[in-house]
Symmetry: C2
Subunit: 468 residues, 2 copies
């Protein structure tokens, strides 16, 4: 087909492509998965099976492993004829030129950092699928009207520096850069984000902002991280939005005392109080149709025969709407204070007395800190349409209805922030048992390739749409 | 009075002392407290007030602070004309000769190590009172019939090397020395007890055993660490025994999963399960008349947006009798398994369904480890009598009934192990608010001196008793 076109190099313009031409832009499942597994050799985590790829990932943001995979990503994208830009938060933008280059690129993106005990797909698949998309465009001599790029966002997980979707938030103007720079590592060391960016050489000169690095659109492929697609035997989720969430730290203060000599009624046991609060947060989440979870809990002083006088725990509250998150927060703030004071609480008309059958002790104080707020998001109809058309192109009109589903994301993603500054949407593929943030996180090679295929088709379709 | 006696040096034989002579053996409150505060300059802990002594202690066993205070203790006891012996567990025995020295000494003893966030009295008072006792005997030219000593036992707290009353347990033959040597530090480093004994130069050559270092009796002065004496406005507890206790580690295993994407019913949340278990242990303790406490809890992986798949927590169960501890253990073993499986549990005819009002998730596994067992102990009538007579000598016959009380210790002490190999008893003095294992632990100077006075009187009386 190349001979039909005039240019010696770029000879398939997206605006001139037929449905058949679009269908011929095939990602290579083999290449995609080989590159993905290759990229996981930096920051490898817990082994769970004997196979060569049966380990999780532990590639905390700005760790040495993250440094190596970034270097590899930059080198590879350059070898694919992309220009690369590092911004002041270490975000990496790799751009393949289009016919016109005085306008913002259409981006595919996600993140290469992982949880401390995470898997090989969360974030990584999205970036690697972007890389594969560029390869497909190159191999097929596709000439996009506008530039097309791939972005690796820094510290999406918020696992090391405790703010999720961190650097996309700075880019979008939602998070002041100084706040991000001053985040302290919660793991081992106490290094700041700025110091770690400097240490690994990713404190770039380009300002981190949607003005310095504008985007025409942002598409993100991701594993679902939940059980729905698998349970319904579907292949693709067209993500129409993201649920709301809010992170808190709750500090419960009682009094250190001897476990052996202190009668139950003389105790201000911060851990027992926290245990009751966590149980109550779960009940409140159930009642309000939300999710509440504690992932971090630290206590002091930490001795078998000392009742802890101080406990801090994280509280992650999520729900389809900002209102429900607010309800759960409001309820829990009041209830935790009462639980700390050994008073009964009411939840939707039902009374809970956590001291029932036990012993009322001395009161514990409760203090809340809000760590981050991520309101519910609706993605852009144009992007959603491109994703759905891309899926229809792949599955055919008769199958697309049973194989795809409109979904709301349970997790936050960099697309949440991107959506504030440009049309955005996401593509989900199923993952085994709906498990994520776990070394055993797994998506089949076939499903990963389907996701990359739908992503490539969506970006190309968006390029055509922009030209209209 | 000295001139009435023949010997130029030892001129007051205990067997020849009148009640008035005994009463004249006065401890110096000022000296006792100056020495005690001085000894707290090594391993100082959290400050809680502005006064020079308003800090707690953080002198973990075999730490550098423990090393310094040991060196000071050895030097001081030598300067008081005692011979000192270090055994293979670092226990320090300082002995003042008697008229006959071919028989075991009568000891006063306790420990100089503290909790990570402990106070200035727990253990320290007992050793320093022993030192003051030797000074009183020296100053008054008292000639005991048999040798009298002071012992500092290693790692009583079990806070760094997780076995309380550790080296007295080895001495008594209750704990194999290899088990103690192989204990790993739970704080910061992971060093073994043997390596740390070597490092600080307290791996002595004398075997650690009641055969190599026999005792005629063991008296221990200690703060009560509970609220009873203070509440009843009494000055001295004549301790007749120690309650039973058992330490466990409970491992709860669920599945790491994403907090945002994982529906409540798809979670095996090890922390929520643990929270329910801790609450249930508290209920069971209340019902059975026991105490149950968790002082250490660690979880993995420890990320705000990951449901913990693994939680380990300590469980400390205490009760007046071994039978009650066994009942609580048996009940909790069964109940925790059920709670992990989201089943209801029965406690003394009452049903508890911890999933009520919440969402049943996936099951969590539960495994128990027994870390240590300390059966209930009764102290020796001869020693208890000496303590009571000493208190009566101090308070007078009319006051002794209101100012002293027979008590059972809520905490374990080295006297628990000592009592297996020689007549033993303890003396308690009140502490402010009954608080211990807390930087603010406090006993008045007057009460400390009363305790040291009763201790000295009890040891001298025991020396007389042995001579009969
Ligand atoms: N996708 C993902 O795990 N993002 C981290 C932010 C969140 O906790 O939702
Ligand atoms: N007295 C004291 O705190 N001993 C430690 C052993 C125990 O936990 O009871």
């Amino acid at each position: 087909r190349r001979s039909f076109h005039a240019s010696p190099r770029w000879n398939l313009r997206t605006t001139e492509m037929s449905e058949k031409d679009l269908g011929d832009l095939k990602v290579s499942q083999k290449r995609l998965m080989e590159e993905l597994q290759h990229s996981c050799k930096w920051g490898t985590g817990k082994r769970y099976g004997d196979g060569p790829n049966e380990t999780g990932m532990s590639r905390l943001s700005l760790s040495d492993g993250d440094n190596y995979v970034r270097d590899w990503f930059v080198d590879t994208m350059r070898s694919l004829n992309c220009t690369t830009t590092i911004d002041a938060m270490g975000n990496i933008f790799a751009v393949r030129p289009g016919l016109r280059n005085d306008v913002p690129p259409t981006f595919a993106g996600s993140h290469l950092d992982t949880q401390p005990s995470g898997g090989r797909y969360d974030g990584i698949l999205g970036v690697l699928a972007g890389m594969e998309m560029i390869r497909v465009l190159n191999d097929n001599w596709v000439e996009t009207e506008f530039p097309v790029g791939v972005v690796n966002w820094t510290n999406e997980e918020g696992a090391r520096f405790p703010l999720s979707m961190c650097a996309s938030g700075v880019w979008a103007g939602a998070t002041p850069i100084e706040e991000a720079y001053n985040l302290h590592s919660v793991i081992h060391d106490n290094a700041t984000m700025k110091a770690e960016l400097e240490r690994i050489g990713y404190l770039g000169e380009t300002p981190c902002s949607y003005e310095a690095m504008p985007m025409a659109a942002h598409f993100e492929l991701h594993i679902e991280q939940g059980p729905i697609l698998e349970a319904e035997k579907r292949k693709v989720g067209a993500v129409v939005g993201v649920q709301a969430y809010k992170w808190f730290t709750v500090q419960v203060t009682g009094r250190d005392a001897h476990t052996g000599t202190t009668p139950l009624e003389n105790r201000a046991d911060a851990l027992l109080a926290s245990a009751r609060m966590m149980q109550h947060a779960h009940r409140a989440a159930t009642k309000y149709g939300a999710r509440a979870s504690t992932g971090i809990l630290t206590l002091e002083p930490g001795s078998t025969n000392t009742i802890p006088g101080s406990v801090r725990f994280s509280l992650d509250v999520r729900a389809p709407s900002d209102e429900i998150v607010a309800q759960v927060e409001e309820h829990c703030r009041e209830a935790f204070t009462k639980i700390g004071a050994h008073e009964g609480v009411q939840l939707e008309g039902k009374a809970y007395d956590y001291t029932e059958g036990g012993t009322k002790g001395l009161p514990c104080g409760v203090e809340w800190t809000v760590d981050s707020v991520s309101p519910a998001v609706n993605f852009h109809p144009d992007c959603i349409t491109c994703v759905k058309e891309s899926a229809a192109g792949l599955f055919g009109a008769s199958e697309v209805g049973t194989l795809t589903k409109d979904m709301v994301s349970g997790a936050g993603h960099d697309s949440v922030h991107a959506s504030k500054r440009c049309p955005t949407s996401m593509i989900f593929v199923p993952c085994r048992n709906g498990v994520s943030h776990n070394p055993e996180e797994y998506a089949t090679d076939e499903d990963c390739a389907i996701g990359a295929q739908v992503l490539t088709g969506a970006v190309v379709r968006y390029d055509r749409l922009r030209a209209k």
